[in-house]
Symmetry: C2
Subunit: 212 residues, 2 copies
Amino acid sequence: MSKDGISMSVIRRLPRYYRFLSELNEQNVDRISSTKLAEIMNVTASQVRQDLNCFGGFGQQGYGYSVSQLKEEIKKILGLNNNYRAVLIGAGNLGKAVAMHMNFDRLGFELIACFDNNPAKIGEQLNDITVKPESELEEFCRHNHIDTAFLCIPRACVEAVLDKLYNLGIKNYWNFSHYDIATRYHDTLVENVHLSDNLMTLCYRMNNSKNQ
Amino acid sequence: MSKDGISMSVIRRLPRYYRFLSELNEQNVDRISSTKLAEIMNVTASQVRQDLNCFGGFGQQGYGYSVSQLKEEIKKILGLNNNYRAVLIGAGNLGKAVAMHMNFDRLGFELIACFDNNPAKIGEQLNDITVKPESELEEFCRHNHIDTAFLCIPRACVEAVLDKLYNLGIKNYWNFSHYDIATRYHDTLVENVHLSDNLMTLCYRMNNSKNQ
DNA sequence: TAGATTGTTAATCGATTAACAATC
DNA sequence: TAGATTGTTAATCGATTAACAATC
């Protein structure tokens, strides 16, 4: 709820603002103008001011923006103060990478369990969580409030798990497979990570560039 | 070289067309209209026709498009017939996921080596490649033609490796870190995968939705 | 031929950039 | 106060959608 009518273009730029502002803040920079920030981020000053003004007037004429304040505002806008409870499905290399290297607490999430259908994986320790058998998924979700699921399993395995998750009321997904969740369930909210699409784009660009 | 002036919006949609057409092809569908394809892909028929016509007239009035032919055309446009030679830097969980689960040959690439600076990783087998010590990187790249590097290492480690790679003439990168390659070297071609930006976007959308 | 569907132009819509008055 | 820089409106640019003549 709350603010709406913000375009996806703007929304997808917010994390980037947040990253650059966090960095400036760590470097103890305490104020910055839209012109300077735009320069660092390699965008236009107009865009910076337009983007920020979607959410409110965070600056001060003649002065610029307070770095730490603006960073906090964007953190609030992104909702990073949340602790959305997540389950991870799949403890393969990708699942492990996600479980072990993401700072979920800084990103608005808390990873509370991981499930895999491969008996060899059961019991493995990923930071502070232990891989559970997928057979325990439904029971677990009924007894623990879950907001979202991270799907790090092959496409062919998605449908069966998705049906279970959806019927348990989980409607938010971070999806690393090519399975099209939104087509099956229209009232879901899905962020897809399509690594192979990304790599094909690199291929296209290499193929059409002069960098040898 | 070749076709230029194609907008990034169109380019980033190409892999998705390719995926859907490959699927239709596997299902032995041999022709499809822009209307039907648009429906399946959840876009407009106008967009499908406009996108495809950036590259040529692949359809036939009154008939539609030949699925297998169109798929092959897009494959060619994307340059997936290439065999760009890639080195992977970093054999952590993410590097392993990339090395073991991506079908590089179908994506225009060939992974020919992997390097890591952690002695514990040296000698590990990732499909048909063996993890080598990072100290051998430069020597290896001087004796093997390399087109691109996949960076699956923490941000703090990137700069040192990047400097080496760039000086060896490698200018194409698939970058999983938040290190800003293009700012340091302007004549590079970079595809970034920013998993945490993606997750923050999910957080924003959950925070602003009514799905609880 | 009649029906279907493309390729392409024109119209609309949205996003980015420029400009500047307001104001700290 | 003078200088700097925002917030915001207006102008431009690009991307998407609609429409339809061409044609298989």
